[in-house]
Amino acid sequence: MSEPSHHPTHESRQSLWRLIVSPTIWAAHFLLSYITAAIWCEKVAGRDGPLTGARVAIAIYTVVALVGIAINGWGGWRRHSYGAGEVPHDADTPEDRHRFLGFATLLLAALSAIAVLFAALVVIFFNDCR
């Protein structure tokens, strides 16, 4: 017997979009940080000027990105932990597909969080626009 359509594991409620939320946040963080630093150094601080304003902005982007990734990752964790299934969630059932998508979302969130931290690491070491 299939689950009712409002049930969390029902096929109509599964979406691949949640998988790419975290990598998209990572890409947006990278792009925003890059553009902010470029505009700051070119238009505001000058070639040897301090990076202060851009560092603050990148710190804010980083916190926002990590919170977004954490929320998405938490959603993935909940789907991964649904019921009593064990990884690798490869059974041909709606429940295991539900868990598998959650697990993949969780792993991509972890990867994206590390990538965001690696990108943000740069502004810890650089004080100016050189």
Binding site: D48, V87, F118, L121, F126, R130
Partner: protein, 328 residues
């Protein structure tokens, strides 16, 4: 003292393993090159440790414990070895590398020697900016005082080049339309080789130069000599050569200070005879090579902008080369 002894032994060992020479990053003669060499050896050490760990794991899986593992243990291997350890190792290397960068790209202190180098297809225009104003122009060779920071202001009028003296420091691109900067601290005297490290056209391979690190007093004397106008010819052959230089239009492209030759298209030749090489670091600076260079320029260096002068009679070529060689 023990520390200093150990340090020198360590450096000697590194040079032995890494090779030495006028163009080796692993035989450093500059503060920046020392840090880059250290980074290289740390990376190499890390790679060896990772490789040995992988071999040990393979041995463990095949010989020590060939039976199936519990799921928990297998997961520990996958998450630990496949995700945690690489993340920690990469994070560590990234942090170590980034922590080096601010010093490597720092501006030289005020009052430091400044040298403006322009990369052109396929040679180097070199200008020493004097603190009291004015500049000393030369080409295809760079001389530096030992133990002092030197700031290079780099640019290019044609295509992207890259300025690199591996033994003294890192490389920096020379980009048309903008000025880039590189600061080097030579730590020992010697003659080293620099190259263009960005493919820039047909004769990219032949775009090199010698970098001579000298004692401070020697450098000061050399710079003062380079500041002087060209030496007056003292014998009939070189006098004749000077006349040929002017009559054949060489001065439209080349500067020889003191004789009214002020062309800016090609390298300044005021002290050509004192340089270690011809054609930008790849030919010996002797009379025979100089004659061949003038007569068959394009054969010697493909694509070079200077036209050949093989139409000149042999005696004129000889006199011209003798004059240029006399410009010490």
């Amino acid at each position: 003292m023990l520390r200093s002894f150990c340090h020198s032994r360590f450096n000697a060992t590194l040079a032995l393993i890494g090779g030495s020479g006028v163009q080796s990053s692993l035989d450093p003669a500059g503060r920046e090159a020392e840090r880059i060499a250290a980074l290289f050896w740390w990376m190499t050490g890390g790679t060896v440790v990772i490789w040995l760990s992988m071999v040990a794991l393979a041995f463990y899986a095949i010989h020590a414990r060939p039976e199936a593992h519990t799921e928990k243990r297998a997961r520990l291997f996958i998450i630990g070895g496949g995700a945690l350890v690489p993340t920690v190792v990469l994070g560590g290397l990234l942090t170590y590398g980034l922590s080096m960068l601010p010093d490597l790209i720092a501006k030289a202190p005020d009052g430091s020697l400044r040298i403006a180098v322009t990369g052109e297809q396929w040679w180097w225009r070199v200008r020493y900016v004097l603190p009291e104003g004015g500049e000393v122009v030369t080409a295809n060779e760079i001389r530096l005082p030992v133990g002092e920071p030197v700031q290079f202001d780099l640019d290019s009028p044609d295509v992207i080049h890259s300025f690199w003296i591996p033994t003294i420091g890192g490389k920096m691109d020379m980009i048309p339309g903008r000025q880039t900067r590189l600061v080097l601290h030579p730590t020992r005297t010697g003659t080293f080789r620099g190259v263009c490290a960005e493919y820039c056209g047909a004769s990219h391979t032949y775009m090199a130069f010698y970098a001579v690190v000298m004692e401070k007093a020697d450098f000061k004397r050399w710079l003062e000599e380079q500041r002087q106008p060209a030496a007056e010819p003292v014998d009939p052959l070189t006098k004749q050569g000077r006349e040929h230089f002017l009559a054949n239009g060489c001065s439209a492209c080349h500067t020889v200070r003191g004789i009214g030759a002020d062309g800016l298209v090609g390298p300044d030749l005021t002290h050509l005879g004192s340089r270690l090489s011809l054609g930008a670091g790849f030919l010996p600076n002797d009379l025979e090579t100089l004659t061949r260079w003038i007569a068959r320029t394009n054969e010697v260096k493909p694509g070079v902008h200077m036209p050949h002068f093989r139409m000149l009679p042999a005696d004129e070529l000889h006199a011209l080369a003798a004059y240029l060689a006399s410009l010490k």
